[in-house]
Amino acid sequence: MEPKSDTRRFFKSLHAFGERKQAATVDMARNVAGLLALSQQEELMDLPNHSPLSTSEDEGDSDGERKSQKLLEAVSSLGGKSRWKLAERSEATLGVSEFNVTSDGSGEKLVLSDLLESSTALSSLAAVRKQLLRVKSKTLAIPLDKKEADQILREAAFSKTAQVLSKWDPVVLKNRQAEQLFFPMEKELPAVAPVEHAFTGWKTRTPLEQEVFNLLHKNKQPVTDPLLTPVEKASLKAMSLEEVKIHRAELQKTRALQSYYEARARREKKIKSKKYHKFMKKGKAKKAFKEFEQLCKDDPSAALQELGKMEEARVLERMSLKHQGSGKWAKSKAIMARYDLETRQAMQEQLAKKRELTQKLQVVSESEEEEEKCTEEGIISASDGMNDLQMNAAGVNPWMLRSCNSSAGRGELKTDPEQLPQQVAGGFSVGEEDERPVAEELVLKERSFQERVEPNSAKPMGGQEAEVSSDCQEEVSESRVLLQKLHKENDQSEQQNVSSVGTVLQIQREELAQEESLVPQRLERTHVLEEQGELGKEGRCQKKGHPRPMLKGEWKKRNPHSVLDVSRREKKDQMIDLQKLLTTRSPVKSLAVPTVVELKDEVETDHKQIIKEAFAGDDVIREFLKEKRETVEANKPKDLDLTLPGWGEWVGMGLKPSAKKRRRFLIKAPESSPRKDKNLPNVILNEKHNILAAAHQVHAIPHPFTHHQQFERTIQNPIGYTWNTQRAFQKLTVPKVGTKLGHIIKPLKAENVGYRSSSRSDLSVLQSSRKRLSKKQQKQLKASSAD
């Protein structure tokens, strides 16, 4: 039995092999010839084994034929690896197992009807047979691999669970976004309603209550609306809001009219023009006359009365004229009064009486009082230029004398400032103007001087007048001398400057350009001033400012270019002119001038101040610009030069690495952002990073934000109680999570959230319903089933 079964197995495998790899057989055809012999040998060896099996062969030759065919096929398909498979029965043998039915042997499909044929004999099985026949033969798809099936199940389970869990999403999101979470989470307690609401349907029941209500009713006190008694209501109704408004508006109007009228009357009363009053009187008389005529026509009796009144007025007028010097008695006395003392006295008495009578009882005008007080208190009122002028004229300008001396030698002045006379005060403002290191055009200066002198000299000052004017003349002449000297000095110094060409020149040029534009302006301004004839000294000195010494030669040289230059410059960088900045015009209004009576020690300092003011002020701008330039340069990122001299070329004294090489090895500094003070000429801003303060700042942007500006927005609003009201502070600083002491915090329940409790999702349910699978999964399923 064994060898036979072996060969069978072999054939079987061959057969299977042949079925699977028919393509391979073609390739293997050439091996067949060699192998054929071998197979025949095997056949031969099999023969003796066949004899006991002959019983089975009697079924027919067809079986034998099939066998031989198989063998041929097997042999022809020999080749490649032969795989051994588990033994499968292919045909009906004696050892038919009850577990396995294979249709392999026949090469046909097993059909149910074939199996049922045997049951025909048994009538008892007819019913079953019918049933079985009714069953449609439907081929079931091969079940999927376990692995794949599991995967699909898993995916489906995930989607199902995700769907189930997704109902929590809004809750979770809400909790995440909530400003505050308070545990244990409970439903809001119904708000406590006010007592009044609770007792809407309330009625009196107790005897006490009834009594109380009786009392209330009796006194007509409101029961339902205790806010207003009937009396109060009546009073409210007495005048409606509209009426009150109208009434008020009327009152307001009358008041306004009254005030207008009063104001007008006051204004008219203040008019001093006699002519105006004459006209007014005449007009009034005319009007009265007209009215009277009208009255005569209309109502004669009233006119008569009016006439009487007029008569009375005339009489009164006459009476009042009694004391004037125009009477007969008075005239006669006037002649005598020259010689007679008594008559003179009588005359004077009468005049006094007249004055007394005619004197109007009026309030003393405010302005006069004010002035008096002012003089008393020592405040010189702002409006009167008189005082200023007096001061100017009276005070001989001591500084002028001094400055004259000083022009001879400045050092001297600085060394002994005590020599200076102590009274600088009087013409301080004048002196201040002159003492500056003036180098502006002489013409300009002189003009201003003349201006100043003229009003002074023109002023009638009594006996002092002559002196003053002479003083002034002196001043002027002295100042001229001084100015000329100064001018010369300046010229010299400037020339020196020009000869010593240096870095300074550049600065000067810049400034010159600025100044050149300014000079004509100044001239114009002074012209305007002259025309206006203004006397304000401060304003003038202000306008002149501190002109920088101007080099004549340079001025001429630069003149043709200057206009162009300036305009170009202005276009290039619209810097605000420093000079303009510092010399601002100011309204010309004098204040209460402080009296300058100085203490001894202050005098010294004051002199020092004056000298400083005179000589120091000028270079301030240049120094500042220089400083600014230096700081800008210092803060600029520097280029890195990596050239190694002597590398690939000669090196030594006076030899420099070639330009090409330098260019090649120069690492340029990155372009820095423009400075904040780029367009602010009078400012130097420090652009260094404040490291100490930066330590307190945030330097990482938290998660949802992508840009620092976004995050800054959220932290800009202060939350401290210094900036907020108490309530706002509490609300802004409320903790994110709050808990109630001693309470259990239970997990969130679906019922609490507002969902019905659903049964736990079973996977078994899942398998039954494919509908819920996603499209992708369904596709997968289809594909797998098709295989």
């Binding site: 979470l181 609401h197 702002a382 100011s586 120091a616 701008i621 949802p704 959220t714």
Partner: protein, 616 residues
């Protein structure tokens, strides 16, 4: 905070039937018989009586935004349009809805700077931004509503029509005002001990006086109660009251070899400390929120002393010679120093160099003052000019005027009045409003003193100007100078001893670190971009790539030989400069459009001829 959406929110609460209630309790006045009828049926299921909610108008709930400035909205729904519930008394809320808050006032408290446009933000970020803005709005509305509590109004002085207020004398004012205010005008005749410096405490209650010739006094100036009075037998340069407890003065004798140190006294006049590291002090300033005492010295050093721990924070060399002009900016605690070269420099203890240098005058600067909002700085120089500068970034002069004899001392009041002391006269200028600079056209008040002005300060929370001069001290009445409402928790003039102690502790706890002083005090609410970028750079170096950068373009693999190296490179190149190319294209388009415009704008004259090229 409720977390779950409520199912039946839209449904108005039903009013329960009174009959549906449980069994009524029996009252003493009721007969026995009546209750028999009542418990007829079984108790109903719906036994729990829900109390009706208080009426709430819909306008409150639905629109939390832009609540202010609007009248209470009319309810929209028909159900809401019903009359509000009448109470038993029949009284109605006459002002339904939240209290209105004026929009302008609320805007004042909005502190988020919305001038810059934000880059596009993701939805999550957007919600965060929205909540921040909503919070700001709510806080500002609340603050605006709280303005109602500032009941006091500032004083004022008005002349009759056409009358100049500068001509009104102190005597007139004193006559016009009430007795209590009139008592605040007084003169102290102290001719013996030279010109006086003075300083009011922050509450405006106490006054410290320091005479040049050694006279130091502290007094409760309102009650005129003298707290202490001593003569230190040395020249006193400046005096400053640090707490109400302490008086500080820099003093030094006339003898230059003598020590000139900083001394600290308590309110009894007992010398507590002598700080020798601060020598030759000329001016003192106290920065109250930082607990720093800034001293300017003759040697040119600006020294910051932390008075809470007694340590010197920094000593900065101004490199500009003698420092004798100093002022502090109350807004950002920056110290302003005036120099002899006409500049004013701004200092912070965190920086060795000045934060800014401003060229103000041609001559030396004589006095500097900064107003309480930190917006304006007034300077006066040797060139007799008085200028007002804008400190909000531009540092340009807003107005200037020349004074006949320049101002030696300047001071700002809480409400922005400017006082200048010139010789023995003080001039006060006022602006049109609170937030505007004083207009220098017309003085508001003038006053002449018996001596030369040596120290000026407006008293906080009182319409009083204290002037120290060579003849003593004068307390002037200046209507409208001070803030009428004080913060009871911060500067309470009427505080008790306990309150003061409490305040001290709180103030010390809230001490601001000295290094936070900078020009913009709101810089703390900004991200430190420099460090941020630095860190980012380091991270990129460490990782070797930029994790935040957009991933580089990776061409897809293609078949049939189209994925050769050359074609890959080609495809990469196509995408590489896409952004840049887009930009260039846009700019080119813009240029073309401009050119076209120019072309169209050009007047089409006669036909161009070839000879036109010679036309010059």
């Amino acid at each position: 905070m409720e977390t779950a959406p409520k199912p039946g929110r839209g449904v108005p609460p039903k009013k329960d039937n009174p009959q549906a209630k449980k069994k009524k309790p029996r009252r003493y006045w009721e007969e026995e018989a009546t209750p028999v009828a009542a418990p007829a049926g079984p108790p109903r299921k719906k036994a729990r009586a829900r109390e009706p909610r208080p009426p709430r108008s819909k306008g409150v709930r639905g629109a939390p935004k832009s609540r202010f400035g609007r009248k209470p909205q009319a309810p929209k729904n028909a159900s809401d349009r019903k009359k509000p519930r009448r109470t038993l008394s029949g009284a109605q809320d006459p002002f339904p809805g939240p209290a209105p808050a004026p929009a302008e006032v609320a805007r004042k408290f909005c502190r988020i700077d919305k001038s810059k446009k934000l880059p596009r933000s993701k939805p999550k970020t957007r919600t965060k931004l929205e909540t921040a803005e909503a919070q700001e709005e709510e806080a500002s509305v609340r603050a605006a509503r709280a303005e109602l509590l500032l009941a006091e109004e500032p004083g004022f002085l008005e002349g009759e029509d056409g009358e100049d207020t500068a001509k009104i004398l102190q005597t007139d004012i004193v006559e016009a005002v009430d007795i209590a205010s009139a008592a605040k005008h007084f003169d102290l005749n102290l001719r013996q001990f030279g010109p006086y410096r003075l300083n009011y405490s922050r509450t405006g209650r106490h006054l410290a006086l320091g005479g040049r010739r050694g006279h130091v006094a502290a007094l409760d100036w309102v009650t005129k109660k003298l707290m202490c009075e001593i003569n230190v037998m040395e020249a006193v340069r400046d005096i400053q009251s640090v707490f109400p407890l302490l008086a500080v003065d820099g003093r030094g004798s006339a003898d230059p070899n003598w020590n000139r140190w900083l001394y600290i006294y308590d309110n009894q006049g007992i010398e507590l400390h002598c700080i020798r590291r601060c020598d030759r002090v000329t001016r003192l300033e106290f920065l109250p929120f930082h607990f720093l005492l800034a001293t300017a010295s003759e040697t040119g050093f600006l020294t910051y002393l932390d008075v809470s721990v007694g340590k010197i924070v920094t000593a900065l060399n101004a490199r500009a010679g003698r420092l004798s002009v100093m002022a502090q900016n109350p807004y950002n605690a920056v110290v302003h120093l005036g120099h002899s070269n006409g500049t004013v420099s701004l200092w912070s203890p965190a920086m060795k160099e000045p934060l800014a240098k401003i060229l103000c005058h041609r001559g030396a600067v004589r006095a500097v003052a900064v107003d309480s909002t930190g917006t304006y700085m007034a300077t006066s120089g040797l060139d007799h000019q008085l200028k007002i500068f804008d400190l909000r970034g531009t540092f340009q002069p807003l107005s200037a005027r020349t004074l006949p004899q320049g101002a030696g001392h300047l001071a700002f009041s809480q409400r922005g009045l400017l006082v200048a002391g010139m010789g023995d006269v003080v001039n006060i200028w006022a602006g049109p409003g609170k937030a505007s600079p004083p207009s220098l056209e017309q003085p508001y008040l003038t006053h002449r003193l018996s001596g030369h002005v040596h120290g000026l300060q407006f008293c906080p929370f009182e319409d009083v100007l204290g002037v120290g001069h060579s003849g003593g001290m004068t307390s002037m009445l200046v209507p409208g100078s001070a803030e009428p409402n004080f913060d009871g928790l911060e500067n309470n003039p009427y505080r008790s001893r306990k309150q003061r102690q409490e305040w001290e502790v709180k103030a010390l706890l809230e001490k601001v670190p000295a290094e936070l002083i900078c020009l913009d005090p709101r810089a703390l609410a900004e991200v430190d971009v420099v460090t941020l970028e630095q860190q980012k750079k380091e991270r990129i170096e460490r990782l070797g790539y930029d994790p935040d950068a957009k991933a580089a373009f990776q061409p897809k693999a293609k078949q049939k030989g189209r994925s050769s190296t050359a074609s890959l490179v080609k495809r990469k190149k196509k995408v590489m400069d896409q952004e840049h190319r887009d930009k260039v294209r846009q700019s080119l388009e813009g240029q073309q459009q401009q050119r076209q415009k120019q072309k169209t704008a050009k007047p089409t004259g006669a036909r161009p001829s070839a000879l036109d090229r010679f036309v010059r």
